[in-house]
Symmetry: C3
């Protein structure tokens, strides 16, 4: 009995750490965008925590873990009888930990709306994403759905959380189109630099700390102190991502670009999220390094492809989320995958292409589902609401004023005609 209480203690600590990530996102997103939108970003993130929690309470948990079929759960809405708990945890503890992942996925999805979407359109999308998109993918992989039946490995959510959020962001950014001033007439991109790198760096640090709970508490138990191993893998992957991305940027541009370094740390974290409990530390270093390389080139590709991604959600959570999921199929160690009890060893451990195939199927199916449903929802909203993007004047003056009626920094009012603010 003591052990079960300790499991609960560990998972609730993980819950607190993941919720701290919301604070990391406030800083990451505000720091990566312009002053005139900082109050909007900060305020909508608290709103996100609110609406995401309420929708998860009302229907999210039921769609993921309720009794249903291979595609969706259909019981235990509004906390239900609170009796479902596959992990032997207290229902409320399990419920809270799972809620946090839903909040993070929604926060990632916001990336596609940044600096140009109407607040009202994000509000509606937040409800629909939290009810119809995230819970379905989570059910498929974590809730006993059809991908779980195929042995899809996703230790802590490279696919469920990061890829799902990023694919919704992709749909949004395609429909919303690039921000004013992002592309020149000849199609070449401008940098619309974020306004505060201290925020961004502290945001990354808070996300990094929170990730110890995101990955570590996904053990759901304290047995064998296996969580320590998961935390170690998380740490060295993040470290490798940060260092690698900084050197790649330095080599490419002659300057150790700060935002790229920070995205490298996040890339390491996203990459290790699926394999954190399945691989050895040296493999975690390699997975993080490759994540750090991929993120740099992905950022450049999206920029050239005229897909405007202000907070780098598509590269950090999308492209690298795919890499992390596939890395399981390469590096998963037999002993660990049986300890965790999911799936097969990776290609490099004699597992053949079986697990790699399952991982690929999971990425494709989840990615398509999230993208298509988000795209349809936003297209319909675009018609019905007379557009989901603010007017040109509103975008120039900033969403702080247009959507919230006051600047985030009233004593440092940005000049809307200033090119930096354009």
């Amino acid at each position: 009995m003591e052990i079960v209480l300790m499991d609960n203690l560990w998972v609730i600590i993980g819950t607190f750490l993941v919720f701290l990530m919301i604070g990391g996102f406030i800083l990451l997103e505000a720091g990566s965008t312009r002053m005139k939108n900082a109050g909007h970003i900060a305020g909508k993130t608290i709103f996100t925590a609110g609406i995401g929690s309420l929708v998860f309470w009302a229907v999210g948990w039921g769609f993921i873990y309720g009794e249903g079929n291979a595609l969706i759960g259909l019981s235990d809405f509004f906390y239900g009888d609170a009796s479902i708990s596959e992990e032997g945890l207290a229902p409320a503890v399990d419920f809270m930990f799972q809620m946090m992942f839903a909040l993070v996925a929604l926060t990632i999805a916001f990336g596609g709306f940044a600096e140009r979407a109407k607040l009202s359109s994000y509000v509606i999308f937040a409800v629909l994403f939290s009810a119809l998109i995230y819970p379905v993918v989570a059910h498929w992989i974590w809730g006993g759905g059809w991908l779980a039946d195929h042995g899809k490995q996703d230790f802590a959510g490279s696919t469920v959380v990061h890829l799902t959020g990023a694919m919704a962001a992709l749909a949004a950014t395609i429909i919303l189109k690039p921000r004013i001033g992002k592309y020149n007439k000849d199609g070449s991109p401008n940098e619309l630099a974020g306004h505060n790198q201290v925020y961004t760096a502290l945001g990354v640090l808070l996300l990094w700390v929170g990730w110890f709970g995101f990955n570590g508490a996904s053990t759901f138990e304290v047995a064998d102190a296996f969580f320590g191993f998961v935390v170690l893998n998380t740490q060295v992957a993040a470290a490798a991502g940060a260092v690698t991305a900084m050197f790649v940027a330095w080599a490419l541009t002659g300057k150790a670009d700060v935002p790229t370094t920070l995205n490298g740390a996040l890339a390491g974290l996203v990459a290790i999220t699926a394999p954190a409990g399945f691989v050895e530390p040296w493999a975690a270093v390699i997975i993080g390094m490759i994540g750090g390389i991929i993120v740099v080139f992905s950022m450049r590709l999206f920029d050239k492809a005229k897909i405007d991604d202000p907070i780098f959600a598509l590269s950090v959570h999308g492209t690298v989320g795919v890499w992390g999921t596939l890395a399981c199929g390469l590096f998963a160690v037999p002993a660990f995958s049986s300890e965790i009890g999911w799936g097969q060893p990776g290609l490099f451990y004699g597992g053949g292409f079986t697990q790699l195939g399952v991982q690929t199927m999971g990425v494709v199916a989840s990615g398509i589902y999230a993208f298509v449903v988000a795209f349809i929802i936003l297209k319909v909203m675009d018609k019905v609401m007379g557009g989901i993007r603010v007017s040109e004047e509103e975008e120039m003056v900033g969403l702080d004023l247009s959507e919230h009626g006051g600047y985030g920094y009233p004593e440092n009012i940005p000049n809307p005609n200033d090119q930096k603010g354009a």
Copy 2:
């Protein structure tokens, strides 16, 4: 024995989380006020953590938990023989957890001094509040005093911490009078907007995370993993408060005002603080929603009543603290109130008006005590010190310069004649 160690581990984790709230207050208070006072606010908050800890060590614990009478404890000063521990916790762990609540109450009380009180007057008041005001109310309700004898329910301090702090803030704000520029000659209020909404939002997030310890570790034990249920109630109440306040502001003004949204989250948290361990999740949602509504109208009422409340301490911690305390008398579930072992079921569970009456008595008695003693202390100080407010010139130039000899942002010096800084 293992279980007792786990109880200790849980409560020390709660201690850390509550102390993190001090960081939340640094940001909330600095963000809600003007640039010219930002260094002052930040520095005094660290001072607050220091002086509050020392006074609690010297006399606070002894007045609360020492052996004494129905009104006050009178032993175990200076950590005493460290043998008192009603909860079966290690003395140092219990001592530290309780200390944190005293720091939070003092931090809330500062709200009434913001942007116009002399540092010296706050320093003296901080000592007296920590010695004479907070410990007395805490003794009455948590230390075996007369309100405890009546079965007053206050799970984690809606009354003890929030209302006590807010009533002291009310006394201060009445005596200090409104800030220069807050009211026009015709009595209509101006908004003296806070200078950084990113700070404010991150502050709210840190407070939210810290509240998991504030409420959750107030179980004092890990038995039945009941803490998970308390955390769940805390989360959905905060969520409901944030979302509700945003929509109320949007409906009233046409804009989704950011500070109001943020105060809504805090209102949900304050409201659920007393009932967190006594009510069901659906009731927590309602309690949070009503908190989110109350806070909006309370802010407007104080503004109209010419009570200048820069950090919204009176509305968030005072008005909503009362609501939270009374909500126990409405929604307390028989099973939970007996699990916790305090008081009677609420009105909606057949408990009649008994518990509601006890709650009301607790609010009135505690509120009057905190207000009257704070008022007397400050009036005496006002006479003895030749005023507790800085001069008009000092207020215009800002407390950073007048009280601390240097600006908080030396490279962004505010213009004292600028209306935004007025």
Copy 3:
């Protein structure tokens, strides 16, 4: 077995808390320096977390805890067979906790490079410090080396972490020479004020919270809930340091200088780091107070001695680190030093000068080693790299632009000719 799992849980929580200190350092360092270097400081701190983790993984742990001799460990590189664990913890948990201390020491060492060193020189030094300096001192005192054989007491690293980092910072600051504009022609110092006291204060608060893990989890076990006592000592020492330093500054200058108050809190924390598990709470208060006094005068002395210390690393971590180490030799209580199992009672408890002598020897030997090796490394680098300091123009324009190719605050570009930015 349950108890051992709880030990692991406690130490991994401590790991998370210490890693949060890296966030504290981002804010402390960025806030204490000028706008034009803020992005650089923030970005290099994330890089520090990355490179420090990788070097610790590769060789740091092996040099500290590997099998070797009295001077250095020489096995278990690259996480080795992960079988070494002197504390009975899971290898990965112990590994992670120890890694965090290496990161903090490196972050402290950066203080000597601030605002004028080339990024490339810091990158190389970071690798060498993490491989050759920190692990050697850590081996001597914590890894079974020659100072451990003499019974050197250093509960959580006043010497190992703080003094080692500070002595490396001293070597760097001497070789790099003062920042442009720091000293006038007549040798009198100017204040080059940090740009954001809110950052600094929040940084101190995060460091304070993190220190609960730094000191508290250095018990390595939950037995007797002794961690609560360590946390209590940590809290009252920090409180005493903050309050004392504020009043000392107030008495000396007539103003309650904010940076001094904040450094007082840190001084209390550094001072209690060595004795946290060996002394009684009243002694912790005295140790913190004296730390708070020492730090004020140390800051003034370095300033007069023309040793430019932008982030006060030499005073906070160096001078006060020495004080904390020696305080063990004065105040260590027989019962506690035997509970911890290290060393002898202090002078005031009848222990004579034995322990004080051992402490002094440890400070001198560790300090000299760290300083001399850092000095040699940097002198060699200075020759080989054609200087380790940026050019005068680069320093004027700021390291954000010169080293990273973009400002940390692109919408608040500092004026390089502005005296505040000089």
